[in-house]
Symmetry: C2
Subunit: 276 residues, 2 copies
Amino acid sequence: MNKQQLFEQIRLKKSFLCVGLDPVLEKLPKHLLAYENPILEFNKQIIEATADLCVAYKPNTAFFESRGVKGWETLIQTWQHFPKDVLTIADAKRGDIGNTSAMYAEAFFNEKSSGMSFDAITVAPYMGKDSVTPFLNYADKWVIMLALTSNEGSQDFQAREYDGRKLFEQVILTSTQWANSDQLMYVVGATKPQEFAQVRRLAPDHFLLVPGVGAQGGSLAAVCEYGLNDSCGLLVNAARSIIYASSGEDFAEKARAEALALQQEMEKILEEANLL
Amino acid sequence: MNKQQLFEQIRLKKSFLCVGLDPVLEKLPKHLLAYENPILEFNKQIIEATADLCVAYKPNTAFFESRGVKGWETLIQTWQHFPKDVLTIADAKRGDIGNTSAMYAEAFFNEKSSGMSFDAITVAPYMGKDSVTPFLNYADKWVIMLALTSNEGSQDFQAREYDGRKLFEQVILTSTQWANSDQLMYVVGATKPQEFAQVRRLAPDHFLLVPGVGAQGGSLAAVCEYGLNDSCGLLVNAARSIIYASSGEDFAEKARAEALALQQEMEKILEEANLL
């Protein structure tokens, strides 16, 4: 899915919601434990309940790897279950020397090799250009680079300032030279709305993947005030607040209600910005 | 395996060699393709041929993930095949917000959950403290944090200097406050021997995992000149130069010869430093 198609989906669905799939067996509704693969069943029902309200799904690979081979199988089966009209993001935060990143690209972009072909992968910038470019060799695929994350630890290195420039700003400045806004997005946490203006100055045309709304406490309105651009330019992720909205048999219905509330808020924001 | 036990193994084997397992199907000796799982057979034979010459094995997870479920199965089976007296390192370069890094820790440290329990994992520092501490909650397990890597891209951010301090120096300075040298090691590339003196000033007691000797062109002597400490303090990794020493039926024999040459060089260095 390219940038134009993504913006079309946003206008069509009146939503820039990304649903994060971070399934933990212990948190699933108890009645799902009767299924042969409870996590897969959970993911399927969440997807069916929210597919018309969101434009992207973002399974976090850690929640699948933690369950070994079975988990990896579940990740592939979940990927197979995504509808064709959503952007699929492997939230994997990978990055290694060039020949190794090429293997990670095969893992997440090459169905023939691994059984999966996501539209996008999150990548850690620490190892620099040659750790990122192997992912850019795939046409119509996206690299979503960590810039300023939503967690407390983002202050340790990302937000550290030297000579008036923070590390996450340097990451954006440098990496915009490696690919344009048709292949590159940035992760910018919703818990740092005051930084969005600066991110937009450095990357005016790029989509930003924004975690931290919901369970982590970020505000959608604050993010949009500085983050919206003329192609929307935002994918706002919510995971726990949607997928764990209820731990009962009504979990999918309650997940839909949470997603709907966010979609409606987004519709209003898109309308006010004359983007619909 | 704790630090003392690791040093004992180094003295016993007169070696601080780590063998990197980065298996690519296309590079395997052709006769192995007759096996049901050629990559597993390759790994097993490499391990059998080198186990008395090295103190650590480091499979890089990318080379397994690229093959999907089958690859993940092979990673677990390879882990099961490691002898008990070596340090096993999952070269995974993971790192995410706290609750997610806890899942990665389960994936690589909790056999009950994932089928594997490595002694150590490589971790990317970009997301800061709470992305690292979940790995430190496991007793007798190691975090090996990326500091200065061996690739060209290390110059993009890691080696960038601000007010006289480079990012990798900041990473070491900050992270030495999170754990001591009994739980924390650093990745420092052999291709940057001139930086080892500075790393040793910041982390005098820590083990350093050193990739880049062999195929990437780093020199063992130069690394040891500045990197050795009184517990050796170095694990020098070689992957391609050992595992692909021959693409014929003699690949294991030739891998052993390469490992032996490195071990003998290391023995001489350990002797000269009065560490045996």
